[in-house]
């Protein structure tokens, strides 16, 4: 068996409110590779993705991140939220360019460990406007305060739909 296998890939032929992966297979870790943009309004040039496990949208998530936005660094934390904030993707085609999508890699550790651990997520992202305008690089993490094995993963933009052409692939990593 290969160490890394593609479990499922979604290419959005049209704008799409959310993507759910519900057949995760049996691996040690999971990884999401995302190229995406949301329909967030023209005021903003980036958006976040809401990540939920097992359909749980209660306040059982925490997330933290550090960002560099143009020449400004920042960090913030949320101790109790209804999702993990996957930061960040591109938004607003009129400002970022129609063909410009943000790139995100998300690692989901020990997602099926028989109830021993809360699920921890770590990821990085980058989006650069062309021509050079509002840009962002982010390093983020999150946790689901629940020791259940992860059986489904739902992703939705924080604002509006995923724009057509967004793509998300889920990989499994064996041990």
């Amino acid at each position: 068996m290969a160490v890394i296998e593609a479990i499922a890939s979604v290419y959005m032929e049209q704008d799409c409110a959310s993507v759910t992966f519900s057949s995760l297979g049996s691996y040690k870790h999971l990884q999401l590779q995302i190229s995406a943009k949301s329909a967030r309004s023209v005021t903003y040039t980036n958006d976040d993705i809401k990540l939920n496990f097992n359909g749980d949208t209660t306040s059982t998530y925490a997330y933290h991140r550090m960002t560099g936005e143009d020449t400004t660094e920042d960090a913030d934390a949320t101790s109790s939220g209804s999702y993990i904030k996957v930061s960040s993707i591109q938004s607003d085609a009129s400002l970022s360019g129609a063909a410009n999508y943000g790139g995100v890699v998300v690692d989901i550790f020990d997602y099926a460990d028989d109830g021993n651990k809360n699920t921890t997520v770590m990821g990085t992202s980058g989006l650069t406007a062309a021509p050079l305008g509002k840009n962002r690089v982010a390093f983020f993490m999150g946790m689901w305060n629940n020791t259940d094995d992860v059986t489904s993963i739902a992703l939705a933009p924080a604002n509006g739909d995923f724009i057509r052409g967004s793509e998300i692939t889920l990989y499994g990593i064996n041990d």
Binding site: S79, D107, D110, K117, M122, N174
Partner: protein
């Protein structure tokens, strides 16, 4: 040959001060790959309101002066960068003061570990989440750690919990070898 090969898996069933892959000289990590990638999920057995930092030892070399690092870290709303000579601390572990059942996630890359011409650089990312947004009760860190004793290939990696305490049970460690074409 597959690009990725799983070399070893360690799941700590009892608290352990150290997790080791390979033994320098006598039972080395295979030198057949280009790069090493280590994924771990770890928690420290002792108390501490802040994330605990663990260390790496290559090839049995415990001389801290042979290591240095540079890192970017956030444990509050302020992102900081710093560097240290003689420091082999690489990444975070949650402590017993963190939310129950919560383990830090860390990935470490060692590019061209079997090269014998250059010093070895390791690049790591570590996430230490918590159900707290209070300063220093969570942390995330990106670290570049340089081993500059000599240009020997890396054939042993030791991860040391440190601080007189352990990696707790259910901490897991997976080492992968990556071979290009």
């Amino acid at each position: 040959m597959a690009v990725w090969t799983h070399i070893a898996h360690t799941a700590v069933s009892l608290p352990a001060t150290t997790v080791q892959f390979g033994t320098h000289g006598s039972a080395p990590i295979s030198q057949s790959y280009d790069h090493l990638y280590l994924v771990m999920s770890g928690r420290w057995s002792s108390a501490g309101s802040e994330p605990h930092r663990f260390s790496v030892i290559y090839n049995g070399n415990t001389t801290s002066a042979d290591y240095s690092n540079n890192y970017l870290v956030a444990t509050s709303g302020t992102v900081q960068a710093d560097r240290n000579e003689g420091d082999n601390l690489v990444a975070f572990l949650t402590t017993t003061d963190f939310e129950d059942d919560t383990f830090a996630a860390t990935s470490l890359w060692i590019p061209y570990y079997s090269n014998t011409a250059n010093f070895k650089q390791m690049v790591s990312r570590s996430a230490c989440p918590n159900t707290s947004s209070t300063d220093n009760e969570w942390g995330m860190r990106m670290t570049a750690t340089l081993f500059h004793e000599n240009t020997d290939a890396i054939d042993e990696i030791r991860l040391v919990a440190g601080g007189g305490a352990n990696f707790v049970a259910n901490s897991t460690f997976d080492l992968y070898g990556i071979l290009g074409v």
